[in-house]
């Protein structure tokens, strides 16, 4: 495989992964916000999972081809450790950070049945940090970012996720907040301890 092929593969798989991750996040927001749809809700959730799996595959190839490409040196460590690479340090680091966060999201989802629900929830929200990192990484890495078609593609991705997030915060969030507020906010119970003066 020539250097050029590897380079093209890195760019193509990267862009594809970004589009797939955008679709993943978009669908995830719709599921969580319970947007009405013609597709049954469980099917949309299932689609979210399958597309995320596909995204991970493309992402893996993207990482592999970028490492194998000896035209620029990207060491193995920089896959998961940010800012150690000499090449486009800052932009690559964002990709690394995005990948780290995505690994947290993905692994916690695979092990979902075995971790506490709250932990899973918190880790899954890291997707909101992971996805923007990927977007900025794509814009900053340079190879295709100067082309209008890629800029337009990224703009569409950004607009769809931003729109969905806004919808969820304002519309769906309001509807859920209108539920009767009856959860007990318990102050931690005061322990008076063993009876006064107990010294057994």
């Amino acid at each position: 495989m020539s250097q050029i092929d590897l380079w093209y593969a890195t760019r193509a798989t990267g862009i594809t992964a970004l589009v797939l991750l955008t679709a993943t996040v978009f669908l995830g927001i719709l599921v969580a916000g319970r947007a009405p749809s013609s597709l049954p809700a469980f099917a949309r959730a299932d689609l979210h999972r399958r597309i995320s799996a596909l995204a991970v595959v493309f992402l893996a190839v993207h990482v592999l081809t970028s490492l194998l490409d000896s035209y620029v040196h990207i060491g193995w460590w920089s896959v998961v450790v940010p800012l150690v690479s000499g090449y486009h340090r800052a932009w690559l680091a964002l990709g690394t950070v995005g990948l780290d966060l995505l690994l947290a999201v993905g692994i916690s989802s695979v092990l979902r049945a075995h971790i506490p629900a709250r932990a899973w929830r918190l880790l899954h929200w890291l997707a909101y940090l992971s996805w923007p990192s990927a977007v900025v990484h794509a814009l900053g890495m340079g190879s295709d970012a100067r082309f209008a078609w890629l800029q337009a593609l990224i703009a569409v991705c950004a607009a769809s996720v931003a729109g969905a997030a806004l919808w969820r915060a304002l519309v769906a969030g309001r509807a859920r907040a209108a539920r009767p507020e009856t959860i007990i906010r318990a102050r931690r119970s005061l322990r008076v301890g063993a009876a006064e003066g107990a010294g057994r």
């Binding site: 469980f42 959730a45 629900a117």
Partner: protein, 63 residues
């Protein structure tokens, strides 16, 4: 084998009712009402899928 629902976890997503419409119905607020009793053998696979798909892991298949 039957379905066991933990009402404290359930958040009314309704996936279980979509997958098991003959065994799980939804009340007027979107929460599942279980038919009770044992699951027919041919619905076991769908029931396991429903348990896996539940976003809150509220429903399980138990002996």
């Amino acid at each position: 084998m039957k379905l066991l629902l933990d009402p404290t976890k359930c958040d009314g997503f309704g996936f279980c009712a979509e997958l098991l419409g003959d065994v799980v119905a939804l009340d007027e607020w979107g929460f599942p009402v279980l038919a009770g009793g044992n699951l027919p053998a041919e619905r076991l696979r769908a029931a396991r899928q429903a348990a896996k798909m539940c976003p809150r892991r509220a429903i399980q298949v138990v002996p």
